[in-house]
């Protein structure tokens, strides 16, 4: 065809896509930004103006430093460039300072930091199986590049809401790519760096741990894929351990030397937070909450429960920190019941322990499967996604943005297998829609709708073309569910604000969105889990392992 690119011009489309999305990001510089903007400005200020010993004690602003030390050093580095834009942003008492130069600098820093993400995507494309002779739009690497570089969630969260996820996910994807390329030491190093940049990635540490132990420290497997105990390599384990421990030492070292470790940990793992935050992430607790509310309403209606005796379920949207359930057991007391024993062992609050316990027990079959019959890098990736999604589903005080941790690695699987493509479509459309409440201003409404449609149409059409042999990717029930998002959006965004209930129940659209999306996310999680447990062993030779 006319559009077939010659071999020498192979990579120009990558740079075109990267430049294009960067230009779009530049146009979004003036868009709405959330309080996260002030969070990062505050961190620039405090790392620049205060000595290291004060970083985790500083509390002038409510947005205290709650990321690990390496991120603080990253902000410190940025602050030296910030001097040239506007010195006033580096003054700690300048709360909510947002001059045009500040906005420009912060936005540009996110756009430039995304270069790490671009490099990681390029490396990931190398791990894919390439079909030569396909035209550009049908190439798996092209589709993967667009799905990652133009990901709706990243654009919305990073470049409008304001965060540095692109940079962090770049490190994660690079680490995954290195594992696919059998450069395990680099992969392990990158992951430990990532843990020291943002500790939320602890949720996928089990996947790394099991995989590295099973596939790397045990150098050989038997013919049927099971463990060969004698092939254990102590050297590799020691080197891995050294890499991880030295990274942590560099990062936490100064604070351990200053004796500040407990303070740092208390900042990193704050315990005084409720089960859900003001907007419920579409996970299992959203469904739990709605079931609780439904039972309480039904109970009162059928006179099974006395409305005066019910503990008031505080469901008003806003700054809800704690949560009391009406009918179903409140999660805290249940935690106390079950985890008294565990709380003796570890000095963490009971409620957090409960969810970690739930997560680990739910993930245990998956981790065991990986241990028993590893499927190489692809199995590792699948386990990683399940860890991320599982922790999203059951975690304490989860942000809806955390779903990105599951979607981006899943994109890698989606361009490789039909079933994963179907699950990816369900999960990505649902979770991208669940991000809509993050942008609630009128000006951003067309942008989020256009970008959502852009990403959805592209992923649907390209994956359908990629896997055109073998029937439809989504069954009718899934299609109906996804189409149901359109009336949901119309009601929540356009119809509901015009009704009388907007004043009395302002949280209702958020609740509807959260619950509807929770159904889709749960469904995707179950399907993914089943596919992991039932997937066949590594008999076929693929490029990934």
């Amino acid at each position: 065809t006319v559009m077939a690119a010659p071999m020498t011009n192979d990579q120009s489309w990558f740079y075109a896509l990267a430049l294009g999305v960067s230009f779009l990001k530049c146009l979004l510089i003036n868009a709405y930004h959330s309080t996260d903007f002030e969070v990062h400005r505050n961190w620039l200020a405090l790392t620049h103006s205060l000595p290291v010993s004060q970083w985790y004690y500083e509390a002038t602003s409510e947005w205290t430093l709650d990321y690990p030390p390496l991120f603080a050093w990253f902000e410190y580095g940025l602050s030296h460039i910030a001097c040239f834009f506007d010195k006033e942003m580096l003054v700690v008492p300048n709360l909510n300072y947002a001059s045009p130069a500040t906005v420009l600098f912060q936005r540009l820093s996110v756009i430039v930091a995304d270069v790490v993400f671009f490099y990681a995507v390029k490396e990931c494309c190398k791990c894919l199986r390439e079909d030569k002779g396909k035209d550009l739009l049908g190439k798996p690497s092209f589709i993967l590049t667009v799905l990652l570089l133009w990901n709706f969630g990243l654009l919305i969260v990073d470049h409008i809401h304001f965060q540095y996820n692109g940079f962090l996910f770049g490190v994660l994807l690079l680490s995954i790519a290195r594992h696919c390329q059998n450069r395990h030491f680099e992969g392990a190093f990158l992951f430990s760096v990532l843990l020291n940049l943002k500790h939320i990635y602890l949720y996928i540490a089990p996947a790394y741990g099991i995989y590295l132990l099973r596939c790397f420290c045990f150098t050989q497997s038997n013919a049927d894929g099971s463990l060969q105990w004698r092939s254990f390599s102590v050297v590799r384990l020691v080197i891995l351990g050294t890499i991880v421990l030295s990274t942590f030492a560099v990062s936490f070292g100064p604070f351990i030397a200053l004796g500040q470790l407990p303070q740092v940990l208390s900042r990193l793992f704050p315990f005084k937070r409720g089960l859900c935050h003001a907007y419920w992430a579409p996970n299992i607790w959203a469904l739990y909450n709605i079931a609780d509310k439904a039972f309480s309403i039904l109970g009162v209606k059928f006179r099974l429960l006395d409305i005066n005796k019910l503990p008031k379920a505080s469901m008003t949207g806003g700054l809800v920190q704690e949560f009391q359930h009406s009918v179903l057991p409140s999660v805290s007391p249940l935690a106390t019941l079950v985890c008294t024993l565990l709380s003796i062992l570890v000095n963490l609050p009971n409620s957090n322990i409960y969810t970690i316990f739930v997560i680990l027990s739910l993930l245990q079959p998956a981790l065991f499967k990986i241990w028993h019959r590893p499927n190489g890098a692809r199995g590792f990736l699948r386990c990683l996604v399940i860890c991320a999604l599982g922790s999203f589903m059951f975690g304490w005080h989860v942000h809806e943005k955390a779903i990105m941790m599951a979607i981006l690695p899943l994109s890698l699987l989606a361009v490789d297998s039909r079933k994963d493509a179907g699950i990816f479509l369900m999960l990505s459309v649902t979770s991208h829609y669940s991000l809509f409440p993050l942008l609630f201003t009128t000006q951003e409404l067309p942008i989020k709708i256009f970008l959502m449609l852009l990403f959805t149409i592209f992923s649907l059409a390209s994956l359908k073309t990629l896997f055109r042999k073998g029937g439809a990717l989504l069954n009718p029930l899934e299609v109906t569910y996804l189409l149901g998002l359109i009336p949901l959006e119309l009601i929540c965004e356009f119809v509901y604000p015009l009704t009388v209930w907007q004043k009395t129940f302002p949280f209702l659209p958020l609740m509807l969105t959260s619950v509807y999306c929770a159904l889709g996310v749960t469904y995707a999680f179950i399907r993914l889990y089943i596919s992991l447990l039932t997937c066949s062993d590594t008999t076929k030779k693929t490029k990934m392992q």
Partner: protein, 416 residues
């Protein structure tokens, strides 16, 4: 990937970039007393809503023509009236007579930007899609690529969604006119183009090719018989459309004259500001603006425009087919831009990629370096002279192409 998905991706990319550009500032933001084109459009909504039709183009106590008086044909005024009705529903303060001068607010900006997006989606984008689908040669991928290029054309996006204007309406209507002619629906095409002409008088740039093409087609069909009837039908369509648009102004002979006076301000001189056309560039060498009298300037520009437009039009008259028509559009608009009277730099929305490098370099230097004290206007003047030379090269090239008709057929991007 299927065609419909590729086309919808192009449209969504175009819409996203349009709306993202609209986040930024508009012309004259926060600059009293006159502000800019944005305030002009708002003012026209105010004037058309509050005043009776016969006062719109006249200087009265309620309508100060010095403060952004209406200087576009009646269809723009009607469009402003419709927008004003919507504005009144949303927030009456936006179109309050006299009191709303210089009104600026976030919600008002959203409203104004939304009106541009609405008309764009209604008129311009469907025309572009139909054009690429039916009139582009090549594979479906090439059609999609053409659609993407046209929809992402930065000149139109920046002027309509940044600076603030409604060019997409007149360009879109003109494109519908071209579509009509291309499909053989001459009456529909003439109707659409007449509407475009009644929206912005700048569409006169394209009028001669339309005229020559239709006339040539009728002559080919034989002036006695079918051709004559066709010509009569087309003329009737045009006249009726004009009459309908100008109906409120036909009651009094003074009205149309005043409107024409506002549309063609011959009193404003050969050019204003820095424009990449002959007169501005020539002015650098010889101060023709002050040397020649206004009548001579008028005559000179008229003569040169006619001279440059004549070869292309005559060729089209003799060979009225679509390929010639498209080329004639390019040539005619270039000729008008380069040589006519009172041209604004926004009249040209065309760029050649190689010159973009030179342009970019000049733009960067003009931002970061200070011009030497003796020539404070150095960088803008350099930009316009460089552009002028490129456009001159273009008009010569396209005239050669049209007159000599090389074998290869390519679809051309529309210009204005």
């Amino acid at each position: 990937m299927e065609n419909w998905s590729l086309f919808s991706l192009c449209v969504l990319l175009g819409l996203t970039s349009r709306w993202a550009v609209s986040f930024h500032s508009y012309s004259g933001a926060g600059k009293p007393p006159m502000f800019g084109d944005y305030e002009a459009q708002r003012h026209w909504q105010e004037v058309t809503y509050n005043l009776p039709v016969h006062e719109w183009y006249f200087n009265t106590t309620n309508n100060d023509l010095n403060y952004w008086g209406l200087d576009y044909p009646p269809l723009t005024a009607y469009h402003s009236l419709v927008c004003a009705y919507v504005a009144k529903l949303l927030n009456p303060e936006w179109v309050e007579l006299h009191a709303s001068r210089g009104y600026e607010s976030h919600s008002h900006k959203l409203f104004m930007r939304a009106t541009v997006l609405f008309t764009d989606i209604l008129i311009y984008i469907p025309a572009v899609l139909l054009y690429c689908f039916y009139f582009c040669d090549g594979s479906s991928k090439q059609k999609v690529a053409t659609a993407l290029c046209i929809l992402l054309y930065p000149g139109l996006i920046l002027i309509d969604y940044g600076h603030f204007q409604y060019n997409s309406v007149s360009l879109g209507l003109a494109l519908w006119g071209i579509l009509g002619l291309g499909l053989g629906w001459d009456l529909f095409g003439s109707l659409a183009f007449t509407l475009a002409l009644n929206y912005k008088q700048m569409e006169l740039y394209h009028s001669l090719p339309f005229f020559c093409y239709l006339l040539g087609k009728c002559i080919k069909q034989g002036l006695i018989g079918r051709g004559f009837f066709q010509l009569a039908k087309i003329s009737l369509t045009v006249l009726v459309t004009f009459a309908l648009c100008w109906m409120p102004f036909l009651s009094d002979p003074k009205q149309p004259l005043q409107v024409l006076h506002r549309l063609f301000p011959f009193g404003r001189g050969l050019f204003e500001d820095k424009v990449a056309n002959t007169w501005c560039s020539l002015n650098v060498l010889i101060k023709i603006k002050t040397l020649l009298s206004r009548e001579t300037q008028l005559f000179l520009s008229f003569a040169l425009t006619l001279l440059f437009i004549l070869p292309s039009s005559l060729k089209l008259l003799s060979k009225p087919n679509l390929w010639q028509f498209k080329l004639a559009l390019v040539n005619s608009s270039l000729a008008f831009f380069l040589f006519s009277f009172q041209v604004h730099e926004k009249s040209i929305l065309l760029a050649f990629w190689f010159s973009l490098v030179a342009m970019a370099a000049l733009s960067f230097t003009s931002v970061w370096l200070e011009p030497p004290a003796k020539f404070p206007d150095l960088f803008p003047v350099l930009v316009s002279i460089l552009s002028f030379l490129h456009f001159l090269g273009f008009i010569i090239y396209f005239n050669l192409v049209q007159l000599m008709e090389p074998q290869r057929k390519k679809s051309q991007k529309k210009t204005n």
